[in-house]
Symmetry: C2
Subunit: 412 residues, 2 copies
Amino acid sequence: MVGFTGGRLLASADETAAQPAPSEHSDIVSAFGAHQAGIATAQQRYATLVVADLTVSDAASFRRLMVDVSATVALITRGEEPPPSRMFPEGATTPTDFATGLSPSRLTVTVGVGAGVFELPGMTREAPRRLRPLPAFAGDHLDPRWGGGDMIFQICADDAQVVSAAMRALRARLPGYAVIRWTQSGFISVPEGGGTPRNMFGQKDGTSNPPTGSVEFADTVWTLPDEPEWFAGGSYLVFRKIRMKTANWDLTARDEQDAVIGRRRSDGAPLTGNEEFDEPDLEATGADGTTVIASDAHVRRVHGFSMLRRSYNYDYGFLTAMAGGSPDPLEHPENHPHAPGTADHHHGGHGKLDVGLLFCAYGNDPDSQFIAAQQRMAEQDRLNAFIQHTGSAIFAILPGFGKDGYLGDTLV
Amino acid sequence: MVGFTGGRLLASADETAAQPAPSEHSDIVSAFGAHQAGIATAQQRYATLVVADLTVSDAASFRRLMVDVSATVALITRGEEPPPSRMFPEGATTPTDFATGLSPSRLTVTVGVGAGVFELPGMTREAPRRLRPLPAFAGDHLDPRWGGGDMIFQICADDAQVVSAAMRALRARLPGYAVIRWTQSGFISVPEGGGTPRNMFGQKDGTSNPPTGSVEFADTVWTLPDEPEWFAGGSYLVFRKIRMKTANWDLTARDEQDAVIGRRRSDGAPLTGNEEFDEPDLEATGADGTTVIASDAHVRRVHGFSMLRRSYNYDYGFLTAMAGGSPDPLEHPENHPHAPGTADHHHGGHGKLDVGLLFCAYGNDPDSQFIAAQQRMAEQDRLNAFIQHTGSAIFAILPGFGKDGYLGDTLV
């Protein structure tokens, strides 16, 4: 464990030093540091979120899992084999073999815990103060298939097969300790020449993120001083699976799309500005005397709430719809403008397309950050007509760990 | 349409010239040529297969769809906007907008038709001679959710978001003509320094493919001379969704894995050879007098069947299992070595992981190529213990088209 014992982090030269040290290979992100990798790390192109429910009966078993997971994370993020285990004894093949020949591709594994962990017999530390179930929001279409859970593994890398290999390596540590509850996988594409990635509505997504290494970043993301001491250097992660009604969006005129968001799709600038990073002017009025950025425009509704958005696009095509039982909460008649064809009764309509955003927001105060923003948005936001929140979870992201420690070594 | 009117293609300088012309940008693959792009094209990193069922009532409507699809393919593969349509009139946004700023990333769209197309009223051309339903194979675990269909769009690119954008652009052409039946998405990762990609068992996949541009390639892939004249320059595509029981595989010792395949996982060489591209020696015997490559080793069972394998790995995590109705044909008790935990009853076991291969084989004679190989394999193959075929379809891949033509212009 690095020499970090709690208290509020100051964003400064010290803060920069507390980031995971850059390693000799640019495709390796060190797993070690005061904070876990995969948060301040420049966003990788692919991610799988793996959420598990614990099956252990006490804190000591949970500790064994965390020690084992940490050793695995430390090795696989360097492109090395995971340690031998009951399931994979010395000399057996290991799940990462199938990524042989691939670079580590900036693999990171970021681990968080849900409220259930603090109910384990033998757990003596108190839960993070803000680790409470998210409230219900107006308009939620939550599907119990992809929500909740005791632990999250956010696995990110610049190569999809490396993410897949890491997922299998981690899954191999779970038997006897936990069972996978849900998984989600996504991607982002970085424009030629760099810049903010676009979501599946074509809008730049992440424009208002605090800059990495800034005071604002630290003040937004890392734990507040009133949190339990063991949690210092951690964060909270709010996950929402947000289905985007792409057919409805695509049929909406461009200027109306821009009005819905309050930004121009073309360059990401607010309707009152010239460039992507210009501050929106919420007071500016147009020739007709009304505000340029409408009262229910998305950018106005969520203005002033700081969080680190580290989201991924997803495109499951018809996969989840095909695999779906009944009833399908994603199925909406308004997405079926066309008469059913001969084949429609068995696989059918256009509402089956499951495309959207795996919204991931890091922050140290979900109440005043994600929850407050989402309440404002749920209340009134022109964007609501085009999206549905179908998955939801909140986790406390553990502090970082050091070469001689393990994830959660201040906790258990 | 290029000047190509039928007859068997000769692999020669002429054949090379008949390949889609390299364009000025290395990230653009021309859609035009005697053959469709996306077959001889060096395999891109991401693919989505979109299969649709027609809802048109006659060949003339099908022709309109093909004209529209072709215009769309020609434009989006150059990174340009799709043409205006009823669904997306001039000035409306278009589905590719969300890929703004991304390169075309070697996008290709390869279109094939199923047997249903030839039953359309007004269709005068005869069906390809070998376009027959695949026979049932011993061991099949086919799931009706991902099989069959009237049309396939194989969408490939080096960027996942570009594939997704192309899928939406094509889907926008379907209303009134077709409905999507199933989709599948996959990836391959190319090792540092190049070479054959690995599948989810860690084995190199595609070693025995005929080299692009060779006589063997042309003799294997492009239509035989006894096919209907309109079909010249086309091919057949056999799709199989092959679930790989990774937990069982991972628990198998390395030397046994190598024996199952008949090749070494490490370098892909046959057990009788030194290098990946050495020909397997099926007669060679070891010290104990038995053949080095076992009688039921995979490489022996499928030896001598030539086809162009252009497969993609897939990793759906627990996605399809979570979304699954009942009964789940993928669920097998032998994959549940661990006692169910507290959460197991609702999401549970390790058999839920849906990982494997989107097997895509191009060839001009499915009977003597895929079907013969699969019959040999179904009969006896040590690999069968580790895989399940869960999806199946066959399509006739249309000949290529030219700047003034459209996909299927020799057909309808």
